[in-house]
């Protein structure tokens, strides 16, 4: 049996009595114990970010990450943010927090990030390390074959589930939700927004407790014409509409940060794969949008309909991995614009000048 954590419930499940999902879905497990999950998003940011600079960043990181304590998998992606900057992003996955801590000590990455030169040029750099106990994560995949995100780490298996197809299913899949309502410590209030003076500074933000981060992905490489057309003409526009709504209604939706990212090939060209990295005040705010707003219902219904239509012949893969953060996740921003990632939300510290 793969490793998993289950608690005797004190918080009721959302699953309706006798529920049978309309479409098959899958989750990630590991065949060894994985008490902690680490996904680190490394970014380079520029008003105009040319490929040589972006590539140099990836090359440097790949070299630092290529060590015994390095990650088990990595991907490169690109995102144009709301402030008009381009961000080159490398995400790296570890399933052992001690190995990640060792990498931080041994790699020299922190020294590189803290060097005076990082503060001076036209580029910004950021590092968002998501470190969560296993019981604060959940995943879902539309099919059992394609590996991406955490499913590229060693000893992972994709297993069928039935905890899907109802609102609240993501919560039910989070082991800790059985014993913790995962409320925002801000209650119904928003997280106060600040605009720290971040250009020319090396800042660190303590991400507030129970902030919920979702990486939601789409993969259509090799899809046949019919499914490709449907994806391009129907699902992708619906997805973009939903993301625009979130991006333009941050205070109402509880959305804090939203990055629409395109996966890159080695040469920096776009692959037939995207993902959206969204941060929300709480799981509850994310659920409210998903359960009630027509922009999400549109995406949801279309994805389900295509799954029912094509069944195991479905060639477009959708998936997500979700994390409910504990207090203590420290995101770093060097010479970035003040609306980068979680920089406007949470307690801000600055690097030390002796």
């Amino acid at each position: 049996m793969p490793f998993h954590i289950e608690y005797e419930r004190t918080v009721a499940a959302r699953r309706p009595e006798g529920h049978q999902p309309a479409a098959p879905r899958y989750s990630l497990r590991w065949t060894r114990p994985v008490p902690t999950l680490v996904s680190v998003y490394f970014g380079v940011q520029g008003k105009s970010l040319e490929w040589p600079a972006e590539q140099a960043f990836y090359d440097l990181l790949r070299q630092k990450l290529d060590s015994g304590s390095g990650p088990e998998s990595l991907e490169t992606m690109r995102c144009h943010d709301d402030a008009g900057y381009t961000n080159g992003i490398l995400v790296a996955y570890w399933t052992d927090p001690t190995r990640y801590a060792k990498w931080l000590i041994e790699s020299g990455f922190k020294q590189w990030l803290s060097a005076q030169e990082r503060l001076e040029g036209e580029y910004g750099y950021w590092c968002e390390a998501i470190v969560v106990p296993y019981d604060r994560h959940e995943t879902i995949y539309s099919g059992p074959e394609y590996r991406i995100g955490f499913s590229r780490t060693a000893d992972s298996v994709i297993v069928p589930i039935t905890t899907n197809g109802f609102f609240g299913a993501a919560r039910d899949r989070l082991p800790v939700s059985a014993i913790d309502p995962l409320d925002s410590p801000y209650g119904k209030s928003p997280i106060p927004r600040t605009e720290p003076a971040s250009h020319g500074a090396h800042l660190m933000v303590l991400v507030p407790h129970n902030v919920t981060i979702l990486r939601s992905g789409q993969y259509w490489e090799g899809a046949g014409q019919a499914q490709l057309d449907d994806y391009m003409e129907s699902l992708q526009p619906k997805l973009h509409r939903g993301m625009s709504y979130l991006a333009n209604n941050k205070p109402d939706t509880g959305c804090l940060s939203l990055r629409i990212m395109t996966n890159l090939s080695e040469d920096g060209t776009a692959r037939a794969e995207t993902s959206v990295l969204g941060a929300f005040v709480s799981l509850q705010k994310l659920e409210e949008w998903a359960a009630t707003h027509e922009t999400h219902l549109d995406i949801y219904r279309h994805a389900i309909a295509m799954n029912r239509l094509y069944k195991e012949k479905r060639e477009v893969v959708t998936w997500h991995e979700l994390f409910v953060l504990m207090q203590g996740n420290c995101f770093e921003y060097v010479n970035c614009h003040p609306a980068t990632g979680m920089l406007p939300y949470g307690e801000v510290w600055q690097s030390r000048k002796e």
Copy 2:
């Protein structure tokens, strides 16, 4: 059945085959799920700390802590540190991280700690918040009656155990040790020591991953003359000898910080109760000292002998609570001397001046 977490072992237990403990021992459980434990040590520090200043600190904190999101229990203690400073300490216990996060938002404590006045006077202030998943803690009590530390929180129960009386028992009692060796990310190397310019500064230290913090307590109030004499003449001197050895051999023993604290009455006088708060590079370093050094073996053997002699009539209570920290524990120091607590160990950030 009280809440507890157990994993199927992939790391062997230390318990010897067929082991039966020589003396009864007890651990803490809760009758409700407690996925995270929070103990926060608040300190005021002065070269000479008079009672009115110490009392004013406790009064202010008690007022801030007396709220719906406040802690479930608190204690006040005093410690004279190696640098010759006196520290007044209030420790507060929460068993809900969301409630603690809410308290931080609502209480105004952080604003008070960050005020310019804190940087200017003769006193320093510090705040060490230990936030750990349940599976990274363990406790032991010599008897089932006396409540202290986390055992004063709501819905806690003290239950008999048999995971005691062998070297490695503390590790076996830590649920996560079944699937994680809890090694230091520094391997066999020490954690580098720095001396940040801390006077007049508000600094934050990220405590390294797997640093192990132990609060080990002694309570002899109401003990009869025979057991009191034995405690004063035999166990307490052995304890002091052990603590001196650790304090004077920090690099060798992996001890990072050691506070010998006396519990206080309302009027600031000492109670018949002490505890030692020790931070170590890793659980392994703590185990090495405990298993091999004569100063610990002396304490250990004497405590066991007294338990065997007096059995349920033992009037001196010994206990501890132990936490193996994840990365992401942030300790703050305002206008403190540079060797305070964990300040010399770990990545240091400073408060932000706009």
